[in-house]
Point group: C2
């Protein structure tokens, strides 16, 4: 073929982090079929959908089987019933949104990556380490990228630096992978910086439901955020929807640059390049935000945070430095024995049959660190903790 292809793809690293982990785990498992591998790596949930959610989905399936209650094309930005439920969820932490500011989608990953469609050639600021999609989606469109180092000195929470200029800033709080969470005053500093420089904050709140302390769940709890921020969130971790697929993005009415409303642009993007979320899934998501459904979400989150507590206690006992595990399902630890991230990955896989995520996979500042997740079953987490206690 002689067509022009997007050669920025040549700038991508060979493989997506979680594919490489999968490859190494499969190779080990094939060679050692007798070993029981415990996966505390990829951030996938293990608890099933709650009864209110599956009841709602089953009911929706039945509606789809009957012409009188059948639903064809959904609104590209989501049914009003779900956007109203999301608005009520935001109201619960004091944020008022209009329904036109809420866009339902098939997940936060899609939205975070597709938001690049709306942007021109800006300087892109990405935390290091961080969820790889921010970086890869920007490499794919050839953007100039500046990393914002996250390390022990700043509590793994990058703040505006004196040499940062107008641009697009990705923030993730509670953070994947470090589990760190921005305080109200830190986010206020970010919002003020963005408004002063005319910058855009892309705020990834996918783990907001895991916050237990007095931290903002939404960037829109901060005065001034409506003129500088887009927020991306998801049912994946809140309600165990990783395999069910539903997320949402909030694009305030007030975001305007070069005469274009980002809210209108995103509506146009989604109505042109997306066709809405399955009716059955939207009914499930609505149920997850009902009083009964949300109580079930919190119960599951409490279960996962019980796993986090067990891992934290072990690390404390072993004297291993770590962050996270309080307001996020992730525990970010310093690899013991001076190992680098992939060395520690291979060590845990081969010696203890535990799969984690090498910190280096999230950025160069993640080298020497390692992520464990609280998303395993209690039984597997306790077994992993036992192995770590005995052998690490």
């Amino acid at each position: 073929m002689k067509i022009e292809v997007n050669t920025h793809y040549k700038d991508l690293q060979e493989s997506y982090l979680f594919s490489e982990i999968g490859r190494r785990v499969r190779a080990y498992a094939d060679a050692h079929p007798d070993k029981k591998i415990i996966r505390l790596g990829i951030g996938d949930v293990t608890l099933p959908l709650s009864a209110p959610v599956t009841r709602a989905m089953q009911k929706a399936c039945a509606e789809q089987a009957d012409a009188s209650s059948f639903h064809g094309y959904a609104p590209e930005n989501g049914y009003a019933f779900l956007r109203e439920a999301i608005a009520r969820h935001y109201a619960s932490f004091g944020v008022t949104l209009s329904l036109d500011e809420i866009f339902v989608s098939d997940g936060a990953k899609s939205d975070i990556a597709n938001l690049t469609d709306l942007l021109g050639d800006n300087r892109i600021y990405i935390p290091d380490p961080v969820y790889p999609v921010y970086l890869d989606s920007n490499i794919m469109c050839g953007r100039r990228i500046t990393f914002m180092p996250a390390h022990e000195e700043n509590g793994f929470l990058p703040m505006p630096a004196s040499d940062y200029t107008t641009g697009v800033f990705y923030l993730c709080s509670p953070n994947n992978p470090t589990g760190a969470v921005y305080s109200r005053s830190q986010l206020k500093e970010w919002v003020d910086f963005a408004n002063r420089t005319g910058s855009l904050l892309l705020f990834d709140a996918a783990y907001e439901a895991f916050i237990s302390g007095d931290y903002p769940h939404s960037i829109f709890e901060i005065d001034g955020a409506r003129t500088c921020a887009i927020e991306i969130c998801s049912f994946s971790k809140t309600a165990g929807f990783t395999g069910t697929r539903c997320g949402y993005t909030v694009v305030p009415d007030l975001l305007v640059s070069d005469g274009l409303s980002l809210n209108h642009m995103w509506y146009r993007r989604q109505s042109t390049k997306f066709n809405g979320v399955s009716y059955v899934v939207q009914r499930g998501a609505e149920a997850a935000l009902s009083p009964e459904g949300f109580a079930a979400c919190l119960e599951n989150i409490s279960y996962y945070m019980g796993n986090a507590r067990r891992i934290k206690e072990l690390l404390l006992a072993k004297g291993i430095r770590f962050t996270g595990g309080d307001n996020a399902p992730y525990i970010w630890l310093r690899c013991p024995g001076g190992r680098n991230s992939w060395e520690f990955f291979d060590y845990l896989l081969e010696e203890l049959q535990i799969v984690g995520t090498p910190g280096a996979g999230f950025g160069s500042c993640g080298e020497g660190y390692f992520r464990l997740t609280a998303f395993g079953s209690r039984e597997n987490t306790e077994e992993a903790v036992r192995r770590l206690r005995e052998k690490l």
Copy 2:
């Protein structure tokens, strides 16, 4: 804000065709609440999901309610069980695909639009009239566009012209909106042209299941297509999935340009910017391709084509020129009385309370034409035919 936004959005027409139709219909309905409006406009299905599909979805919901059968993140390119079912579907018209060439997604619209991510600055060839997403998604990335006129003289089927050069060519067969369908020899001419010029064909086969005559269901039935074509298809029209959301795209292994494999690029695109289709939906799609499920699909298609026959008979009786309605659920007619497309739209809405789609909305060559769909209920279609017979 001072960030750079994607100013190509300024080049988009004010509103998406179907939004404008919705606006006019709502305005009329609000002013005339007593009138019964019959919608033969937007290409949405009306028959419910079949019993095999909803049974499979209900069963999958139950699996999601139990930790031992719960499914979290799905493979971004779709579960093997569904890709295998799609491969068997292709085998039924003599096309052999490897599972790695099949990518399951949330729908053909997403895939058609997102495929622009893989491409550089090519000349883009788009039929006129055609489904608006091809045009809008390319305007959004600032591409140079050449329209390929479709008119009565070429049977609404553009063929390679002597001045067409290397580029990306969108083909849609059976066609939306004209209902025209390419023959085997016509597609062979396109494939030979593409291979000779190093061009890429993006073949939209969303309506393949409506083909009743001896026409290709897939571009891959044509020798040589594996080195020049990507095919996009969907369960939306085949199995009534407009509100359930599942499609698939076939990217052959052999597509390589500038050292990049388009198959690998699409895998990378989808694994970075998409997170797979809901497990429940994939089980439903699998069931739609089972022997029992596909028989139900064909029964529904037969019902819709019964509607098409009724509309065609009326147009023949009225002496109105039209195409389509044989291998596609669309009937494309010349607006009677010398009206232009929107005049005829307003006339049908206001005088007969029938909603159709103005041909001009699909491109300038659609001016003076009008699209009716066979997706209504039998009762509504017959009522529309009665009104047309008496008043047109």
